[in-house]
Symmetry: C2
Subunit: 910 residues, 2 copies
């Protein structure tokens, strides 16, 4: 087909043609017509009342851009035909004075990008048409309200006039006439405003306002095309992972008017509650208004439940239509509607945005209602949504004591604590510096999205539940409170005043998106509540699907118990060094390290034995019947001693005091202290290393201090003996860290086996002990076949493995250059967040292949932080690891991500 004859335009009635054009695939139809256009055509086919109209395809948008913003050949002819068709369906004439047709020109991309692209309403209006409409309707208020809206939108969007110039005129007019709402301005005033708007455009616009309706239409279509490439749209797509080459469709729709009087109105509705997921219609509407009034939030909206009073028949129709659409699409729908003189029109339907809680509730309900499968319910929930459940909430106790600074709408749940920033650029900059930021705005605009994404929480003084701020916050899981009208934001002085309390930019603020409450300062947060029935159900379904095990990294019984509640199937990593930092233990540990003789060292080690035994007993009890992997002491010893710098400062201080000291007794005491500090300093210096990450730690330490290894193994085995005697079923697994050569493991294993055998012989109790190793050094991965000969299991320590594979010290790099790398696009992802497939992943695959050659079926897992990262979990599933281990809070996320990985595998292999 030559370009001339390509079909750029589809009437809403032409769904079958569109399907045929793309081979029948619904996703392709959405790609061609955009989500809005496809659904309008779909609704028309379902017999749902949508205004007549047509869609210009996304291909036309791309063609337009590729031809330096020239309309593709043939488009205008096809649009003209389609417009004629609309005229014949409506019985009105576009540009005609007699029975004029006005149209809306709406953007509509494949994926919803709320507010990101442009829409022009009431296209087709001019002075002649306006007067004819007044003559016909006798409603000058309505006509000039419509006209001024066209001028306002067309001026701002098509002709580049600053929108505030129009707002200023309206504000003055409202003030002059003592009304609060534009709809209360009368026809004469609106006519004057129309004239003023025309003057503003003549003075400030890139060209005068075109009175020819066809010119209006063409320029509006072009403006929508161009808006696809606007910075805010690009930013949004970058943040949402939407490709830039999709283009937007343009929908030209016959106008229906919600502002023709008291029996007209407009609104948005969700087929289920977008915040809680409860199965009832939810939304906002305004009588005698056009759609933008609802979204912009400059008139207080009414809850959808009240529509039954204002327009009972329409309310019934709306509910029925919502149910029909939900059944048709198998998901909760977000609907735009207009009531024109008592008649309901659907302007749009799409899958509704929702909070994480709502998403889970809706998915589970839909599955239980039989509308979708359980697997589909699991598939629909993202790991980020599960993660949201795990966000900390404010402590209940603390909140009851704290004064509430202000209330707003609880539009996106979760607690956020950050410093106040009043503009998105500052928010972004501070966030990049690592400061948590709460973005505070009167209302947010699409241009603010980069700051919203950077912020931990969003607070606006105006705007409703469906305001831009609320939509974006919910979509990206940011806690948000909107419409907190007590806020008086003073941008000039960079502060906000709330009932006499002034908070400056940079001050701390806490907000609770779950309750809509705002607090001054930093409110402490507490463990999240996971007791959500829908979530529990969904995660059970995920468990049924997944094949990858999920364990937790936990170092004490409380954490272990929490992990088990969250669904962990064992402990994948207990870091025994965490047990050494307790206040009653650290002095003993230091005694062990600084002991001048082996005997004294052994004495200190012996003191640690009962403590460690108790630790392990608690872990085995909490994880009874499940495997518990205990890693032998890993970090360099100097981590347990005071820092070199502190000791040095103390010595300097003592020396200065000595110089100034008056009496002999003070001198003596200072000298004693100096001696002791110097002795500790000497030990710290002896243990100091240029690169501790690559130094004396892990198995190297275990081999140098075999008594310490013996003590830990004894504690593990004795604890297991105790639990077995008490009727429990401990499954201890001892893990040797930082092995780089199989001989290290072989030698350490001998010690472990010897001590374990001793304890079993002493107690006459048989402990099912497994001995394995971490693979966290490139050489261990490369020689895993040799290492596996001495290992019952292997566990990838992907944090350390990433550090050595990249030669990047995480401590240093994330401040020094890694963030630059991510910002500059040198790295696609932070390799400490998601496993680097090309490098670290390759090593893991080499290691697994080697280990399996040595021992087919050897148990393998991941115990780095990557164990809680969905992309990494997917990789681990692909590699056929047995489990991932992550922090207790990430366990539910990992359960879901593991199920997703399995679904993905099934889908790609089927």
């Amino acid at each position: 087909m030559s370009k001339e004859s390509q079909r750029w335009v589809f009437d809403f009635q032409d769904l079958d043609d569109a399907k045929h054009a793309v081979g029948g695939d619904w996703d392709a139809v959405r790609g061609l017509l955009g989500g809005k256009g496809a659904n309008l055509a779909d609704m028309a086919a379902l017999g749902i009342p949508v205004p007549p109209g047509f869609t210009i395809t996304t291909k036309a948008c791309n063609e337009f851009a590729s031809q330096s913003n020239q309309m593709p050949a043939g488009l205008w002819d096809q649009a003209g035909s389609a417009l004629k068709n609309v005229m014949s369906q409506t019985g009105r004439t576009f540009g005609g004075a007699d029975n004029p047709l006005l149209v809306a020109v709406r953007s509509g991309a494949k994926f919803s990008m709320p507010g990101m692209m442009d829409t022009v309403l009431n296209v087709g209006m001019n002075d002649v048409v306006a007067e004819a409409m007044v003559d016909k309707t006798g409603d000058a208020r309505f006509v000039f309200d419509s006209y001024r809206r066209l001028l306002q939108m067309f001026g701002a969007i098509v002709l580049g006039v600053d929108a505030e110039r129009f707002d200023h005129v309206l504000t003055s007019a409202r003030r002059a006439h003592g009304v609060t709402s534009d709809s209360n301005l009368d026809g004469d005033v609106l006519r004057e405003i129309t004239d003023e708007f025309k003057k503003i455009i003549a003075t400030n616009g890139s060209e005068p306002f075109p009175s020819d309706p066809m010119d209006q239409l063409q320029l509006s279509i072009e403006a929508v095309f161009k808006s696809w490439h606007s910075r805010r749209a690009r930013d949004y797509r970058d943040a949402s992972g939407i490709p830039h080459d999709l283009g937007t469709a343009v929908n030209v729709v016959a106008m229906v008017f919600g502002n023709t009087g008291p029996t007209s109105g407009t609104g948005v509705a969700m087929s289920r509650d977008g915040t809680t997921g409860e199965p009832h219609l939810e939304g906002d509407y305004l009588m005698n208004a056009q759609g933008e009034d609802v979204v912009a939030g400059n008139r207080p909206t009414k809850p959808i439940s009240e529509l039954a009073d204002d327009a009972p028949e329409c309310a019934r129709d709306l509910l029925a239509t919502a149910k029909q659409l939900e059944a048709h699409y198998g998901d909760m729908q977000d609907i735009e509607f207009t009531i024109e003189n008592g008649r309901l029109w659907l302007l749009q339907t799409r899958d509704g945005k929702r909070t994480a809680q709502a998403a889970v509730r809706i998915a589970v309900d839909l599955a239980n209602e039989g509308r979708i499968s359980r697997q589909e319910a699991v598939r629909r929930i993202t790991p980020e949504q599960i993660d949201f459940f795990l966000h900390p909430q404010f402590s209940g106790d603390e909140i009851t004591r704290r004064p509430v600074l202000a209330y707003g709408l609880n539009v996106s749940p979760g607690a956020a604590v950050g410093v106040v920033a009043f503009d998105p650029d500052l928010a972004q900059r501070w966030a990049a510096e690592g400061r948590p930021v709460v973005l505070v705005r009167q209302e947010t605009k699409p241009d603010d999205v980069h700051g919203m994404l950077a912020a931990v929480g969003i607070l606006t003084s105006s705007g409703g539940r469906t305001s831009h701020a609320a939509l974006v916050a919910r979509q990206f899981g940011k806690p948000a409170v909107t419409g907190a009208s007590d806020l008086d934001i003073d941008l000039a002085n960079r502060c906000v005043t709330i009932r006499n309390i002034t908070i400056a930019e940079g001050d701390w603020l806490s907000l609770d998106g779950t309750t809509g409450r705002i607090y001054a300062g930093q409110v402490p947060t507490v463990d999240p509540d996971l007791d959500n029935d829908s979530l529990a159900t969904l995660l059970d379904w995920a468990d049924d699907i997944r094949t990858l095990g999920v364990r937790a990294n936990a170092d004490d019984p409380i954490e272990a118990a929490r992990a088990r509640r969250h669904g962990a199937e064992g402990i994948g990593l207990c870091r025994t060094e965490h047990m050494f930092f307790g206040s009653e233990r650290l002095p003993i540990v230091q005694q062990m390290i600084t002991a001048p003789t082996l005997a004294e060292q052994r004495e200190a080690i012996d003191l640690l034995l009962p403590m460690q035994r108790e630790d392990f007993t608690g872990l085995f009890e909490a994880m009874d019947g499940l495997p518990v992997i205990i890693r032998l002491l890993d970090p360099p010893l100097h981590e347990f001693l005071p820092s070199w710098t502190d000791l040095h400062r103390t010595i300097t201080d003592l020396q200065l005091r000595l110089v100034r000291a008056g009496d002999l007794q003070a001198v003596e005491s200072l000298i004693t202290e100096l001696h002791e500090t110097s002795a500790m300093l000497a030990r710290v210096e002896a243990l100091s290393e240029s690169n501790p990450m690559l130094g004396l730690r892990g198995v190297r330490l275990g081999l140098q201090l075999p008594d310490l290894t013996r003590m830990q193994v004894r504690a593990v085995t004795e604890a297991a003996v105790g639990v077995i005697r008490a009727g429990g079923k401990p499954k201890p697994e001892i893990m040797v860290p930082l092995v780089s050569h199989h001989n290290e493991l072989a030698k350490q294993r001998l010690i472990i086996e010897e001590v374990a055998a001793e304890v079993m012989a002493e107690s006459h109790v048989d402990v099912p002990l497994q001995i394995g190793t971490m693979i966290e050094v490139p050489r261990a991965a490369l020689t895993c076949e040799q290492i596996a000969e001495f290992a019952d299991f292997v566990s990838f320590g992907t944090n350390d493995l990433t550090q050595t594979t990249f030669a990047i010290s995480r401590d240093d790099a994330e401040s020094a250059f890694l963030l630059d790398y991510l910002n500059d696009g040198l790295l696609d992802q932070n390799p400490f967040a998601s496993i680097d497939d090309d490098g670290v992943g390759q090593l893991m695959r080499l290691a697994l292949a080697g280990a399996r050659r040595a021992k087919p079926g050897i148990e393998s897992g991941v115990c780095g932080e990557h164990g809680g990262d969905p992309a990494s979990i997917s990789l681990c599933h692909e590699m056929g690891l047995d489990y991932v281990s992550c922090s207790a809070y990430r366990v539910p996320v990992a359960r879901l991500a593991a199920a997703h990985a399995q679904i993905q595998t099934t889908q790609t292999t089927v």
Copy 2:
């Protein structure tokens, strides 16, 4: 064949039988009969006069050990038959009083282990035999000299008597009779000494001296078998890489006597000079003596050149035989001979030990004489021998000024500077602590070998060129001086006095094994002299053989010129940071690092440009026509600043002085200084990293300071332009360090190309610039296919690659645990000395495969310290690298090792 019928014994006449028994292979014959036994049989077959005798095989030795030191069945019968055969050949009777046969029982393993195992002479002597011999010869002196030697050796070796007891008797006798040599004691005295020796054995021996000659023979054979397993023999084998399961053969040889009077004598000779390699007979002899007298050094020997006076006919025969043997074996021979009443007997021949210089000279001469191929000449020289040429020598100027403390024999060349230790255990301990040690002994014994190996140099007050000390020192390339008779060693007071100067244990001493001179204190050493014709010839031949290129790591023109003289084919690594430490540069570098503004930083960088340009110009001139790889700045910046510790100490000091300061001016000046120091400290702290090895360095730095990269690239390109204009042919290659992701290289490459293009455009000169990268991070190796897309060449930085592959910081580990690992056998080799094949080698192979997929034939090399290590060079050759790069001094070693690798490949593939 059953064990009973196994053949344990071969007569010297039975060479063909022995060859047949092992399938004809000469190496296997040596394995069966030992080197000495095989050569004795071989000489017999050549018609060279060797005393009749037979060899008990090495298999018998192993069988003896495996049967708990029981003679293998059948051995004794076979030995009896062989002994009968010797009796019939000599016409004498073993144990017979009439015409008694005495035999020597000599050890003889496959590989020569001089002095390590036991020998018993004059076996078959007893009171009856002695008296009969006196009757027959009338020479009581000779007979009882022989008898007392048997008692002495048998007592010490077989019966475990302390050898010093016998020495003491001899010393007293010499003193009592006013003679200096045992051979001057008369028959009666020796008869008394014989009696005394028998009493000593009766009192101190494990059993009485057996008068039955057959008992003597059996016990002597068993003693030789046992000596294979002695500690000193094991130590020697460990040090020489000789397997422990070879066993020793035992040669039972009819005694011929060099001590029957003035027409008898004994000596050792080398067919060429073992020290210089000159083609003349060299050696020592004594008339009227037995062989041990020559080796032990307790009588001054005569140089072999004087034998023509003492025994002209024998001297002629000896020279002819030496030439015959050299021609037969194709190598310089070390011969033991005895003259019995004017008749020459060969007791042994073997390939002669030689110094490194002699080895090279001999190999080249033999090749030039057509006796061996050039390839064989190259093959015979070890890298260690080449290395020896490269050992530093004492500075000529310095030596002419220094007083010589003492002179000795220059038995093993090279300069040694160390602290004096008087016993081998102390020498070993100090060496382990990292102190260079000179072992000072009256003479060395096989028990001293561990201390000799640990020492950097060996000095003895007695002993000749063929003394134990001299042999061992030459073999292991230790500088040594022997027979420095002015030394008066006082073991009780742990000091040595040399003409009134007393040197205590632990004091510094310098010795020159090339000249035999000894100096007090530490004499400065200078560059070795490589102007050796034979070496140059040999290395030329090596160059003809090798396929692997050899470049040098050099950072300045002088080093580059030296490297080129040593045969380097370019510079494989110029570390530009070394250029930054010059005294006039460091302040500018520090200014660059601490500059508060970008402009000031750029100013400092601009100051460095002309200096760097000059550096590179010098390199290009020195390596004209050869590639010069210049690595961009690599180390973390803080390395150029004062240390944290020093700054902190300065501040403490300033604070203390401030507290004590008197006048205002002093206070002000101290405060200013404090401010400046604190500012520097702040910068140092800001740059400090927990793990600098894994931190902000290499390309990370280059990307963060692009102006620095630009300056370096400009300096390289401008230098090349200058050299081209002067008629030179520079081949600059710029190398980007520490790349772990291809995007880093891609981005850095853009900058390099941009600047190079600028300079070329400005100068209208085309510079053939190559841009490549180091592979020194595991991820770079793993993703080398991606990286090679942006690299014209790759060079393995195996030092860093080893650190990250093992997760071992070299700085820390070699003191902390790596040495323990090597001592405990956890690691076979230090991976920083030889490339770890399993881990690092695997990564290199993965990287090469990837790089070659991306760019077949891409240039690759190694520029770590491993580039000078023979084992690593062999590995690099196998991998098909294009070149190795090492320090200038290692270049000749690398040339030889590369030739060896090629010879090895040819031999294994043919």
